[in-house]
């Protein structure tokens, strides 16, 4: 099994993948849920319990409502660096002892940092749930950040960046796209892992200040899925997280507009590229920013436009015109700020970029002019719902869905209503959403080519 301890989730890092379908975010198996599965401790910690007796394991995920987009220019990379330092011990747990203890007890743990949230999770046997809750609560309040641990970890953070970003032309181009779309030095315009110059300068005080500012029970959500009960989780949560005092937490800032009203273009010719890519990113509303009434129709639009091999883009460019080897669209609605609606094409050998761009433009125009059929919309809805059903098959995906929604201010009611809201999207709503997002401004076109330049 591939070992990846610290996942840098988010943004355009995955833009080089052949297909990036929209992530269905729904909990569908227990709409008639018990109220006792959702509660908030007096100190403000939100708790979600997702019982499942499927396998003798439980999964705990603690999500903090803070991410790389809450950093400022000059101090970027703190959220991710701090995520690494969270494994370096407290007054009572030694450096690396957290993970060693989980492993010694037959479990696994990991963590991730995204633009809007930071998450820590463990999978263990049910009788070890108290152990991981005790340790997770401990590092919520008592993290000890020392110079001795920080110095070598800085190199680890920089090696992670080399591996994920600097060794990958597509990832480097993705960072340039983010900057053009959201703005230089704006929250989503800066890399999740931070600028190298910033990371090199971050010190113990910077990390400790960020920790003190954001890590507190009233800025966190604790989700437990698996072979346990709400009663059990409540007892353990009160015992271990309950004593941590709440503190005042600052509001988070996300701009209501993008970098530019003019279309932007980002190109990268790189000796390390064998296969070209054409991509287009439109600034788009999310559930929480911009014209959020379009957020559900945009999920249907992404699916019918570029979700798999029966989508409009694939059928036109790959099957009919044979000018591409793959084509896709994606849209991620669960973002605190604005998000993007993305289109991508892997051109067939010999197809000039200008033809790809013009063909995509034609398909977008055709959809706006002629609309979409009711049948297309229903198929896309069914695909979204099916993906959501299957996402319930894994114990880890449930907590991730709740963490992703609640971590940016969504509610359990939003998750419950997702299937109905997706099903309610009409053909006219899909076209209206497309018209809102596919406009002349607020877009970035990116082209990745081999060194010899544009073919």
């Amino acid at each position: 099994m591939c070992f990846s301890r610290r996942a840098l989730l988010g943004g355009l890092v995955a833009a080089g993948a052949l297909a990036s379908p929209p992530v269905a975010r729904a909990k569908l198996f227990s709409v008639e849920r018990r109220k006792s599965d959702f509660f908030t401790l007096p100190n403000g910690l939100q708790v979600v319990v997702l019982p499942s007796s499927r396998a003798p394991i439980v999964n705990q995920l603690v999500v903090y409502k803070v991410g790389s987009a809450d950093e400022v220019y000059g101090k970027t990379g703190i959220a991710h660096f701090l995520e690494h330092m969270m494994f370096k011990g407290t007054g009572t747990v030694g450096p690396t002892e957290f993970s060693r203890t989980v492993s010694r007890n037959g479990g696994r743990d990991n963590a991730y940092t995204s633009f809007d949230t930071t998450g820590y999770y463990q999978t263990v046997a049910p009788d070890r749930l108290e152990m991981v809750m005790r340790m997770e609560a401990d590092r919520m309040a008592n993290l000890r950040i020392t110079e001795r641990e920080l110095i070598p970890e800085r190199q680890v953070v920089l090696e992670e960046r080399r591996m994920r970003i600097e060794n990958s032309p597509a990832a480097l181009l993705g960072e340039a796209v983010q900057e053009q779309l959201y703005g230089r030095h704006e929250p989503y315009g800066m890399p999740i892992s931070g600028y190298v110059d910033d990371v090199k300068k971050l010190n113990v005080h910077d990390l400790a200040a960020f920790y003190a500012k954001w890590y507190m029970p009233n800025n966190a959500i604790m989700i437990v899925a698996g072979d346990t009960t709400a009663d059990q989780v409540r007892k353990l949560a009160e015992k271990h997280y309950g004593p941590i005092p709440s503190r005042k937490v600052d509001p988070r800032r996300r701009p209501g507009e993008g970098a530019s009203d003019l279309p932007q273009r980002v190109m990268r010719a790189d000796a390390r590229v064998a296969e070209s890519r054409w991509s287009r990113y439109y600034l788009a509303p999310s559930y929480h920013k911009g014209e959020s009434q379009y957020a559900y129709a945009l999920q249907v639009l992404a699916r019918l436009m570029g979700g798999g091999e029966t989508s409009r883009l694939w059928k036109a460019l790959v099957v009919d015109r044979k000018m591409a080897l793959a084509a896709w669209a994606s849209y991620r609605p669960s973002s605190l700020g604005l998000t993007s609606f993305d289109l991508g094409v892997h051109p067939a050998s010999g197809t000039p970029m200008v033809e790809i761009e013009s063909a995509v433009g034609g398909l977008l125009g055709k959809l706006l002019d002629d609309g979409v059929t009711a049948e297309e919309v229903e198929r896309a809805q069914n695909q979204l719902l099916a993906a959501a059903i299957y996402s319930q098959d894994s114990l880890q995906s449930g907590p991730r869905i709740y963490g992703g929604v609640l971590g940016v201010g969504g509610t359990v009611a939003d998750i419950d209503a997702w299937p109905q809201r997706i099903s309610a999207v009409t053909p006219a709503a899909v076209v209206a959403a497309a018209r809102h997002v596919w406009r002349a401004g607020g877009l970035v076109t990116s082209v990745l080519t081999p060194q010899e330049g544009m073919r």
């Binding site: 569908l28 198996f29 396998a55 394991i57 072979d227 064998a274």
Partner: protein, 441 residues
């Protein structure tokens, strides 16, 4: 309200009423009226059925001059069948929220089916069509061929992929395991519809078929549907196994230059076969050396103490005719020599001193618990049941496994470490612009 939403609403009630039964894995061995054998774990908490299966014969048995034929054929099995074009076949899957897929490893041609249990008739019908009536339409052959060649080209630029490929080519030089499972662009370009059809006919046989099923389906229903999907396949003779592999006896270092700031390194030693009496000692040794997570010696020495890399791991790889122990790390070009020195130092330390009693005890508790972690989804459970059968294990292995792990003694691991961790058998591959790493001999 869409049809799926109605299914959802029905499921919600059904799931809410289920008793909180313990999640033990109860494996039933099923034999169908037509004689197809399968393992089943019935699990009503999932409204779906997951099937994992495989046929004997993988990419290592690709005939000379046809490298890549098995991978291309496997991809095309779901690109149209009988009267259905590729688009129509895909549409039928989407309408049933079903997915059928095939992929080939070095030793076997594998397949998967996932379908909502309410739509299982349609799911198994689509599987039958793919297995028995694949079309191999000319336009789909061209499309998939171009996609695979593009993927080979791009892999040849990704440092991790280049390192993985180079390791196989070096370690298995002269053996079919050295061949890229995706094939070569030259051979792929020569493959015809006829070659692909012949390859499908040669591999899709009932002899040595392995099947595992998990989900909301009972034995009778499963037997009936398996007979429908697989029943008309002929019996036959699977391709011969690749020849025995002779492990290298000289240390080698291969450097592949790539313009990247970070060098990726893989180190390989001959490993341990799945049926080796020391298999469980090997699991423990690998966990202590670089397996699993953040407790390992490689993690601690390379990453935690020195900050030389984000990742430093080891893993056991098992093939039908070979086994490897592979160490992996990546570090800035200027520091990769140091990282390699530390990794090699850890191999020597484990060989000379063996593990501590505490390390072995920790490894054993991890390995005992790790099995449950693998039961995360029905697809994962089906995969586990499938690989157990390929490995020749009995259904009761899951209950015996804990005792086998508990029985590992420190002397077993010491003996194994002396046997495996030998400098003279070490192959090192580095991809990047490493400073201070000399290729040779």
């Amino acid at each position: 309200m869409s049809q799926l939403l109605r299914i959802l609403a029905a499921l919600v009630v059904a799931v809410a009423l289920l008793p909180a039964a313990a999640g033990a894995v109860d494996i039933k061995a099923v034999t169908t009226p037509l004689g197809i054998k399968a393992w089943l774990v019935q699990d009503k908490s999932a409204p779906a059925v997951s099937l994992a299966f495989s046929f004997a014969g993988g990419t290592a048995s690709d005939p000379a001059g046809q490298l890549g034929v098995t991978t291309l054929m496997a991809t095309l099995l779901t690109d149209g069948a009988e009267t259905l074009t590729s688009q129509a076949f895909r549409q039928r899957q989407e309408d049933a929220a079903a997915s059928v897929g095939f992929s080939a490893s070095l030793d076997r041609l594998g397949g998967r089916l996932r379908v909502l249990s309410a739509n299982r008739e349609e799911g198994f019908e689509l599987l039958r069509l793919a297995l028995t009536q694949p079309r191999f339409d000319a336009d789909m052959i061209e499309q998939r061929r171009a996609q695979i060649i593009a993927s080979i080209n791009q892999s040849n630029q990704r440092p991790g992929s280049v390192a993985a490929r180079t390791l196989m080519e070096t370690e298995f030089a002269g053996h079919p395991y050295a061949n890229n499972p995706d094939g070569t662009p030259d051979d792929l370009k020569k493959l015809t519809q006829q070659t692909l059809k012949l390859r499908a006919a040669a591999l899709l046989i009932r002899t040595d078929l392995v099947v595992a099923a998990v989900g909301d389906i009972d034995e009778t229903d499963l037997a009936r549907l398996l007979d429908r999907a697989f029943g008309s396949l002929p019996v036959g003779t699977p391709p011969p196994l690749p020849p025995e592999w002779t492990p290298p006896t000289k240390a080698r270092t291969v450097v592949v230059e790539r313009p990247v700031p970070q060098s990726t390194a893989l180190l390989a030693l001959p490993g341990v076969a799945r049926d080796d009496p020391d298999w469980y000692a090997a699991l423990a040794m690998n966990h202590i050396l670089g397996g699993g997570g953040q407790q390992s010696r490689l993690f601690n020495e390379v990453r935690e103490k020195r900050g030389l890399a984000y990742s430093a791991t080891s893993s056991l790889r098992v093939y039908k005719r070979a086994a490897l122990l592979v160490m992996s790390t990546a570090s800035a070009n200027e520091r990769i020599a140091e990282a390699l020195r530390v990794v090699k130092g850890e191999l020597a330390r484990l060989r000379v001193d063996g593990p501590t009693e505490q390390e072995l005890a920790d490894a054993k508790t991890y390995l005992a618990g790790a099995l449950a972690l693998a039961l995360d989804s029905s697809g994962a459970i089906a995969g586990l049941l499938h690989s157990m059968q390929v490995d020749g294990l009995a259904p009761d292995h899951l209950t015996k496994r804990a005792a086998l792990i508990a029985a590992v003694k420190i002397d077993d691991v010491r003996r194994l470490a002396r046997r495996l961790l030998r400098d003279e058998a070490l192959t090192t591959v580095v991809v990047g612009k490493p400073v201070g790493v000399a290729p040779g001999p």
